[in-house]
Symmetry: C2
Subunit: 245 residues, 2 copies
């Protein structure tokens, strides 16, 4: 029998994951959960999910749950879903910092459920289901951060699903992940936002901006609330890299 | 009778300028000067110049001289060409900092020659004649920084030539230019180089780098020697913007 997947939060990443997993022969069914009913309707119309359900209903039938929500919502959702999760289920996420999520898994999940952190190194400046892309993960690195003593069968199952999206799976511990992404993702976002702020103090400056400035600051167009959340969550590692700079 | 243009330094910018100006009806002849004979031969084969000559020969016949050399070479070239320049000639450059060049013009050029700073806000990570592009300046901003009391006829002549490359001419004083490019060009280059350096301290980090890191650091692939020269020349303004950041 195939795997039932629940995707909690059907935005850019959740929608793209749904589109990719529905093409995967291992997967029988993808169930979408979202606080916004219009988003769910769009996800279904786009073919990103087979069905929609409440959080509790969705996780009760799921073999694998992907939390694709903002990081600040992770802990609350874990608490809400914990009583309904099946024994043997896997819960993963797609957040940009892994230590905080691994701690939340340890606090909230029952021992019969395996929490394994995940971080696809793919995205876009856009957000929302409308930007979803079946091939968003194709050839992208997708980091998995298992807890110490993870069940081998759970890890294999999650790796197979992730590999089915076209991503290249990379396994490392949460702390290593957080230091590395601080260098290649969080610090560059912070710096791009600052470059825009500094240049904008002199409005005439932007008239002189050429392709170099455009590319160097492209990522500053990302969702500021989401990035505040990410950088704050990973503040120790980001401060370390900022200090090095 | 048409204008004779001398291009001193036939690299990416000089070659592109030559290609564009040879298409301009105002221009009768483009003469190339370079320390490297192979570069001159390539420039001629590509149609970037009509002829090649020594510095002294080229400027002796030129109505307009474009210095397209590294900034550190400007003053020495001005001294070498000054005795040979025609009365009424215009000397311009394409360097990224304008105050230092304007000072060199004032020191080196005879009173009968007009020195007007220039800075095309276009370029590429590549250097050299092989990367030259007839349309490099198309729709790019091209800043001109005339000295106080510039002769109107000289300014008009230079503006017409620059406009003929497809660029949009913007006139401002050298100090304003230097502060603005520190914000939109020099600081972003410095920061991109630092982002690469910080990330490279942990070689595994680059495996996690996605499109955001690639774009944010694209300009770090520029010629380091040239950028050291540029940032050092404009250090006051760059330090001011760095402080703001």
């Amino acid at each position: 029998m195939g795997i039932t997947v629940a995707i909690v939060g059907v935005g850019l990443i959740g929608g793209s994951l749904g589109l990719a997993l529905r093409d995967c022969p291992l997967v029988e069914r993808v169930v979408g959960v979202d606080v916004d009913r219009r988003v769910l309707a769009e996800a279904r119309a786009m073919g990103a999910v087979d069905a929609c359900a409440s959080l509790q209903e969705a996780v009760a039938s799921a073999d694998v749950v992907f939390l694709c929500c903002p990081m600040e919502a992770v802990e609350q959702l874990l608490q809400a879903m914990a009583p309904c999760l099946r024994a043997g289920a896997i819960v993963s996420d797609v957040g940009s910092c892994k230590r905080r999520v691994m701690e939340a898994f340890a606090r909230c999940l029952p021992p019969s459920v395996q929490g394994i952190g995940g971080h696809p190194m793919a995205g876009a400046e856009t957000t929302g289901i409308a930007g979803s892309d079946r091939y968003l993960f194709e050839n992208a690195v997708y980091v998995l951060t298992p807890p110490p003593g993870v069940a081998a069968a759970s890890m294999e199952r999650l790796q197979s699903l992730v590999a089915a999206t076209g991503a290249r799976v990379l396994v490392m511990d949460a702390d290593t992940h957080d230091v590395l992404v601080a260098a290649v993702s969080h610090l560059p976002h912070l710096v791009a936002a600052e470059l825009v702020r500094v240049a904008s103090r002199q409005p005439e400056a932007l008239v002189l901006a050429a392709g170099g400035f455009r590319d160097a600051t492209r990522i500053a167009a990302s969702n500021p609330g989401m990035w505040e959340d990410i950088i704050f969550s990973n503040r120790e590692a980001v401060l370390g890299q900022l200090e090095a700079m």
